[in-house]
Symmetry: D2
Subunit: 426 residues, 4 copies
């Protein structure tokens, strides 16, 4: 804790908090990470295309949208050499710290924020203390700003520690839209990782509590579908149309009614809809955005397959066409018990930790699972670690905030875990 | 036909065709009409607020939308004194021609175009002959441009004729969205009208055919409704939301299933939908735009009442709120048999007329019915006259066009009818 | 009227009224008709199979059901030789009266009753005067009893008249379920019919009113469909089922929402449903009984085709099978104007007739249209004649009754029409 | 095992298997149990009304149905004195064995079978060995026949053992329809029970496996609802009806779409439907039978409340009435850890036991929970014990069968547990 003390961690977190950027548009955030890494002096900094398998990116927004955010970043003084490396929405960084012979440890955090107007109320600390979002309509409301501070703090601490081996830190873009996990998993940088720790703060766990390994994150797929029918004059010749509106309504009703599954929980939601041109015209085109989830990857696949059947049959029923597309997805991967136990043991030694939960059913989706799966498929161990933090309101609400005391707990936990893994290598 | 010969009529129609403007945004069209009226020299030109009962306007678009079109009109050189009189979306004109003692005859035409991209194909005459729409995404695809030419031609012809009495021409805005009929009906200008002729071209009647009076236009109401629920995380706590998406889907399915009525045809359509914010959030708000129609006003009211019950019950089912609003409507009014017969007799005397249909079930909606109802309620006679015109494709399609030979048939029919009514007065 | 006076007509009608029998089960009614015909002494009496094209019968109930009614008829003393001729549900009679050279005139009436408990209230005349239905749960609630009396009265009157030609009377079974029309139309007996009169009483036309020819009966098809899925334990493994209940619900919702048609009225109804075995089992099988109608045969076919698409898509959506079957149907056929005019003229000469309506849109379905179509396809003329009768409540209600004064009006109208046709033959 | 050896247990089980009787109609089964108890010589045999709180019975079938099964029992020679005691569907028995001072131990088994045609295939042992169901359409397809043999075997074994205390055996009727649990729980016989063991065979656990205590049975409620609308002629005046068919379809679609709950699994099913009278009549009445379940009682209540809202809103949408009624229900109760541990320890000592599972999520519903809840509310301990048995196909299938080797494992486990509880009393 000499290098990055508590105040420095808070300062870092607040700097990120003030500039929230949504998935694949984290141009400024990426640049800020790179500058910090340069300051610390890590051995390798892979940025954008270097840190991603381009073709595996999912849910990338339209070029115009990317261009707007990139321009915004440029205007606020982001270094042009870094901007250059993130062209076309290639945000994200992999930092490599080579400290000699020893295990290769991966750490995964995320860069992006969500689209939500942050509270300006005086009892919302970021507003009261002057680090509220400066990007209207966007907010770090899930704690990724804290993750970045913890990751950078950990790199700093590890450089000054006895850790022997390699530390790779994955600053993943587009977690909220499940867009970046797969692309980073396939970047090549994971190939030699022996242990991967993905880290998240909060999720209803208070400051002082550590969850050593989470299980059963919900596997998830985002699906979009456009019903294409034929327009007609709704008064004069309704029968001449092929009503995309009716097709969509039928699909929605039946999507929510996909049977519950005996193997565990599933979820279905249609969260966006838009279509038709006027009340007196049979709607030619209606687009829905849906998602399915499951406690296991198989359960999610079950729900996705059922959803697709519903979509096709609803289209057929109203003489429309539809081509459902999976926009992004993520599997369900459990933490490895051995790594989980080791982290649990380390946790008890960390100052400020009052409670260690060995295992916890995550119940949400997370595309860190793509990285975890990759490591475990190659014989490594992965764990999804929760660092408790008091948060006044739920994640993804306008008054979400973290307890900054949890930042150095996170740094200590990760640093000590690194050291422990370094020591115990066979 | 000395004053406005065929070429002049085509030229006028094409000028209007090149500059289509949607309802309540007919700033340029209004100005062009005023200029023509000034050229002809009519006795009174009421514009905008003078020609409308402001509070009875329906389906008026937002101010920003009005401002955009007004600015566009200004930029293309529309006279600022006329623009002044149409502020706040008060488009429309009433022209009064006072030719002494005699009956008061009203003529109603409409100003607005629809939002549709006009065909640029070479076999589409407006494209081939250079008068295709210059306003991208908007088009005179229902013949209102022809109506304007006919009306202006008729005023010219009447000024030069033996007609004794008063001719009032109602250039109504916002017919397509049923927004302007009621406001013009209540302007005061109809109070002394003895005979009202509303005129429309085409509707599948070929050049040379006249329908002396149409019956059973579909009464219509446009209804908008926003389902308001509560958002929730679709993966973590779907039960905590109140799902506006499900409410809307249930409403749509049941709206189309409103029972057919023994008294005659009804129509129901949900033509626009939009709502929700993301696939992983239970939708908090979904808005639909619907319409109901009926062969009689009572049938439309039946469908509207049923639709409202469906909307309220669908909201209740998913713990949402909804407040349906009627945006605009129009009644069903039949043509008066006596006036219809007179027009039919005149029609046979008009050069170019080959077939006269005494009566015809209109089968579409038309807010000219507000003006017709007003006149007939006051003891006057009204008829909805169709002037046949060959049209290559249906109304409201990108390749709609009219046969300009029908323009002077229309002018002759209306002028001769005026003369006939002038002569036969008791 | 010497042969069958008013009292005799009432007596006949009441005898039929007391013994209502549903479609294809009119064993006693058939026998009673045969006995009357024998008493009158007609030239040929074709019964059952002789009067029907067996393979064209539709909506025939199961054998056990037929056997029950036949047994009931036998127990009440129906002659066994007649019962013999109606085995297997071959009810119905064609009577042929040969009165020499002249046109061949057909008359069509119907035998069957409906399943409805007749009122026992003292203000219901059949109850008060002792001729209420003796078959619990069945009732002549549509006037077919009156049709039989009129037909038998007409045969009697014609035998005593100067009519020259052939009179064929078609006593058709199973009209209410649209089951018998086609089979009788294809019996061969219609092949030489020049003029066909189908007759119905009432339908909101009062005593003294005659409708010379009805138009636009609703074409109709009865459709049954069984959704076949797979059962599963609803608590333990709902996902293992293929839910026929959900398929049926989806189908019903979308069936009612089949688009209204620009060419005229359609109707859709799902009137019966049954399926599933217990609340804790995913339903394996659900059967619905539906009907579609249209103002024209084409409109009915449109609705039937759409219904079938809805059924198939709903099954597909829930991984079920379905095979819709048309149980019975009838086309829409208009009365021939020439025959209608002749009947209208005759009607004015009949005592008791106070009003003659030339033409009327029927608005209900009638499988007499099969016979009418057959005659008109062969170059003959057909008309569907309404004989007005005061009826206290609607057809198909427990207190329906006819005004017996209309019986001899019907007999006179038909007899005089026969004579007129006989006289005018070319 | 001297008293009731293996062959005797098989023989008993097969005798019950041959005469399956559904819930509240177990007249013969009750009598057979009583005769066995008399043979063993227990101290008290409470039958029917004596063993039940009459007013707490749920899902009792109509009197005529009860009378049919009672008559059938009488005809096959059931003793009339026992039949007398089960009049009005009061089946069920409580046996009390008083062996001096000591704890009061309860054992609960169930009497009823399900409605399912048993397989007659030669590879189905009951068919091959001559003990297939003799009641067409009914079958012991859930192992209750085995439960009865185990319970009677245990009573026999305990009488011959050193057990000191009281043993009460609850032979509960109507488990499959969740009808009998509450009535037996409130009979008074549970008031002094210190330990309650409910026992079930199979449920996918093989012979040799014991589950010491099951948790999270699904709380369940059966709900029936009749939509009452108004009939109308579907062709002539569909608008005059209030369509119960559409109401039911809307309800079904939305019932299955009740949101998944964050707290755990729920289930919804509509398993039966019937309604309407004919395809050409708007359906006046449609009845559905539904069930809801939840991993906890609260989750079931959530689903039940949501279902009721759906039902009311669907009725309102189509102008119908509906009054949902809960026919039967059962709570979710977990096994007590202390009792579970004791049973687990005993299980390892039983011959034939190869695997002991401490705890298992049941995942189905069971109204034994009413008895368990009653005991635990009074300070006693309860456990739901599974005795593994190989079964060739799933429970509730026509080829379900048990491995009779599991019968004496069950007897031994229960007898040894009784002894252990007797010994350890404080």
């Amino acid at each position: 804790m000499s290098h990055l003390d508590r105040d420095r961690l808070s300062e870092l977190r607040r700097a990120f908090h003030r500039h929230p950027e949504p998935g694949w548009r984290e141009f400024r955030t990426t640049a800020r990470v790179v500058e910090e890494l340069e300051r610390i002096g890590v051995d390798e900094i892979a940025v954008g295309r270097e840190a991603l398998a381009t073709d595996e990116r999912m849910a990338v927004p339209p070029d115009s949208e990317l261009a707007d955010w990139r321009e915004r970043a440029r205007e606020t003084g982001v270094r042009s050499d870094i901007l250059e490396r993130t062209d076309g929405g290639h945000t994200g960084v992999v930092a490599v710290l080579d400290q000699g012979d020893g295990p290769c440890l991966g750490l995964r955090v995320d860069l992006d924020a969500i689209s939500m107007e942050e509270s300006a109320e005086s009892d919302h600390r970021p507003a009261a203390e002057g680090f509220r979002s400066e990007h209207d309509g966007y907010m770090h409301a899930c704690g990724h700003d804290a993750h970045l501070a913890i990751a950078l703090g950990t790199i700093g601490a590890v450089t000054e520690s006895d850790f022997e081996g390699t530390l790779k830190v994955f600053f993943q873009p587009a977690e909220e839209i499940s867009g970046g996990g797969k692309a980073m998993a396939e970047s090549g940088y994971l190939d030699d990782v022996d242990y991967l720790l993905a880290v998240h703060v909060g999720l209803d766990h208070p400051t002082g509590e550590i969850v050593a390994g989470s299980d059963r994150p919900l596997a998830m797929a985002h699906v979009t579908a456009t019903f294409e029918g034929a327009s007609a004059h709704a008064g004069k010749a309704p029968n001449e149309g092929a009503n995309a509106m009716q097709a969509a309504a039928t699909a929605i009703q039946n999507a929510y009614a996909i049977p519950r599954h005996s193997d565990g929980m599933t979820r279905v939601n249609v969260g966006r809809i838009e279509g038709g041109c006027a009340s007196n015209v049979i709607a030619e085109e209606v687009t829905i955005e849906a998602e399915v989830r499951g406690e296991t990857t198989a359960l999610m696949e079950y729900a996705r397959t059922e959803l697709e059947r519903v979509l096709y049959a609803a289209a057929e029923m109203h003489d429309c066409d539809v081509s459902p597309r999976v926009i992004s997805d993520s599997p369900s991967v459990d933490s490895h018990p051995a790594l989980r136990d080791l982290i649990g043991n380390v946790a008890w030694t960390v100052e400020g930790v009052e409670r260690v939960v060995p295992s916890y059913d995550l119940g949400v989706s997370e595309d860190a699972t793509y990285l975890m799966q990759r490591v475990q498929d190659d014989g490594g161990l992965a764990s999804y670690v929760l660092v408790g933090t008091d948060h006044p309101t739920n994640h993804h609400t306008p008054t979400f905030d973290v307890d900054e005391r949890s930042l150095d707990i996170g740094v200590s936990l990760l640093t000590e875990t690194a050291l422990q893994l370094s020591r115990q290598r066979p």
